[in-house]
């Protein structure tokens, strides 16, 4: 039975998109070697192209790929003499035994254990350079190539690819454990995983009009990772909180830009353009998270977005509620973003003077933080300090990376104070 090349391609694409991370995680958690698992899976995908074209697409493409990749790993070991290149893809006898063992043969059972959670904890391991946590996840769990990751993080492709190779070598050579941390370490380790997933999302936040939205273009990938996390750790409310936060932000995607590409701040967005399904999903996740009674940074941030989303129903924004949530956030996670967001909310409740005082308290660390200058500029403008406002607008424009945000700020700068 032969298969149409188009169907074979489609089948390979589907299984690669859906199962890549699970296959890498399964193999790597048995060998401790992410790079080796990726290579073997890559070989298996190439083999699938020819085999599936002549023999037809197997009933379980996932199991076929896993068996092929696993055999590839075992073969590679048999052919290696121990003396040469000991550290590249050569595993000890116990590892080979683990790979070859029939009793958990995934091809027999059609389903195989989902080890993606272990892989995520490895990618965000404290022994790995924190700036590589997100790129590792994107590659090992989602199969993104180094060039795409490099584009998102604005570095040269060769640089990104070298860093990925180095990070994976550290995982393999130092024997980083593929395991979910024990309870006493879980909270701390999970923080690193959540932060890395959030970094893939970029800062698509709407705390202030004219806050630069660093869109790394990986929104859907980040949401996928957060979904994996909250499925595998159903009792961790922060994982759901992160998912809810990202779904809320994603819901406003279409409303954030005008038809001419113009940047539209949250307060001027048309709620009819918000994605109601995405908001409903966010609310669902946040409700489950809240029921655990263990508030955290991401749940609070999601709750703030939830109050904003309420405008679709009520037509108004409850700034009192938002300011209260920011108070909690600043206490729990005093990031620059939280401080600036709080000032923007306080401006709506207690006026621009009170808000400006909060911004003054932040100090020097905000000097290069674009949202700080955007909020400051709007507050000064509201108070009629036109010259100071102009200086702050200029600074905000200078620091903005998004051209649409830049021209929005320039328009605001030249608008008459109201």
């Amino acid at each position: 039975m032969t298969a149409q090349p188009r169907d074979v391609h489609r089948a390979i694409e589907a299984v690669a998109r859906h199962s890549y991370g699970r296959l890498v995680a399964y193999l790597a958690s048995r060998t401790g070697d992410v790079a080796g698992a990726e290579d073997a899976l890559g070989d298996a995908l190439v083999a699938a192209l020819t085999r599936w074209s002549s023999d037809g697409v197997p009933s379980s493409p996932e199991a076929w790929l896993l068996t092929t990749a696993r055999n590839r790993l075992i073969d590679r070991n048999r052919h290696h003499r121990v003396r040469e290149r000991v550290h590249e893809g050569v595993y000890n006898a116990a590892t080979v035994e683990l790979l070859a063992r029939g009793d958990d043969d995934p091809a027999q059972t059609e389903t195989f254990p989902d080890d993606r959670l272990k892989l995520l904890f490895v990618c965000a391991h404290p022994a790995i350079d924190p700036t590589m946590h997100t790129p590792l996840m994107l590659q090992a769990v989602l199969g993104l190539d180094a060039a795409a990751i490099a584009r998102a993080f604005v570095v040269a492709p060769t640089t990104m690819s070298q860093r990925l190779v180095r990070a994976k070598a550290k995982i393999r050579e130092t024997g980083i454990a593929f395991e979910v941390p024990e309870a006493d370490q879980l909270a701390e380790r999970l923080d690193a995983v959540l932060n890395a997933v959030y970094a893939a999302f970029g800062s698509g936040w709407d705390a202030a009009p004219g806050a630069d939205s660093v869109d790394v273009g990986l929104t859907e990938e980040a949401i996928w990772l957060a979904r994996v996390l909250s499925e595998r750790l159903p009792d961790e409310p922060e994982a759901r909180g992160l998912l809810a936060l990202m779904l809320h932000s994603h819901a406003r995607h279409a409303a954030r830009r005008g038809p001419d590409g113009r940047f539209i701040p949250l307060s001027e967005q048309n709620p009819a353009l918000w994605d109601a399904a995405s908001i409903a999903k966010a609310e669902h996740e946040l409700a489950i998270a809240g029921a655990a009674g263990r508030p955290g940074r991401f749940q609070l941030e999601a709750a703030i977005q939830s109050v904003h989303a309420e405008r679709a129903r009520s037509g108004a924004t409850d700034w009192n509620a938002i300011a209260t949530l920011y108070e909690g956030l600043v206490r729990m996670a005093p990031t620059l973003g939280a401080h600036v967001g709080r000032a923007a909310a306080v401006a709506e409740v207690h006026g621009a003077t009170a808000a400006l005082r909060l911004l003054d308290d932040i100090g020097n660390e905000a000097a290069t933080y674009q949202p700080y200058w955007a909020v400051r500029a709007h507050l000064l403008q509201r108070l009629g300090s036109t010259d100071e406002a102009a200086t702050a607008f200029d600074r905000a424009v200078e620091l903005a990376t998004d051209p649409a945000v830049r021209s929005f700020l320039q328009r605001s700068r030249n608008a008459r104070p109201h």
């Binding site: 022994a127 980083i176 454990a177």
Partner: protein
């Protein structure tokens, strides 16, 4: 896998070695730590080193020996000893490093041994 825990200590900690009365608590902590390593069946080897000022650094430069008094790097915290452990993962090594008395006052660097390099560099 075998891991080296490289123990780094401050000059103050080195100085305390020769004042046995101030050091009793520290020595007690080390004895307890060593005992737990042995009882866990993971202890392979280990030794403290003399003070860094006693170190001699040797290099060959332009075919000549350049011998320097003192340790390799002039840093505040200096290598004070090492412990070799047999453990399943880096995570386990980090766990044991965190329990080392020096982790609270100095630092403990975890480095996996390189048996592949050893195979190519040892006499057989």
């Amino acid at each position: 896998m075998q891991y080296a825990l490289l123990v780094y200590e401050t000059p103050e900690a080195f100085a305390r070695r020769s004042h046995s009365s101030d050091n009793e608590q520290n020595l007690g902590a080390w004895r307890l730590y060593h005992r737990s390593l042995v009882e866990a069946g993971i202890y392979v080897a280990g030794d403290p080193l003399q003070v860094p000022e006693m170190g001699t650094t040797v290099r060959i430069k332009d075919g000549k020996r350049a011998i320097q008094d003192g340790p390799y790097a002039e840093t505040k915290e200096q290598l004070a000893g090492f412990i070799i452990l047999e453990l399943p993962s880096l995570d386990a090594a980090i766990e044991w490093a965190a329990r080392c008395p020096a982790a609270a006052i100095g630092a403990v660097e975890v480095r996996a041994l390189a048996p592949d390099v050893k195979a190519r560099t040892t006499f057989r």
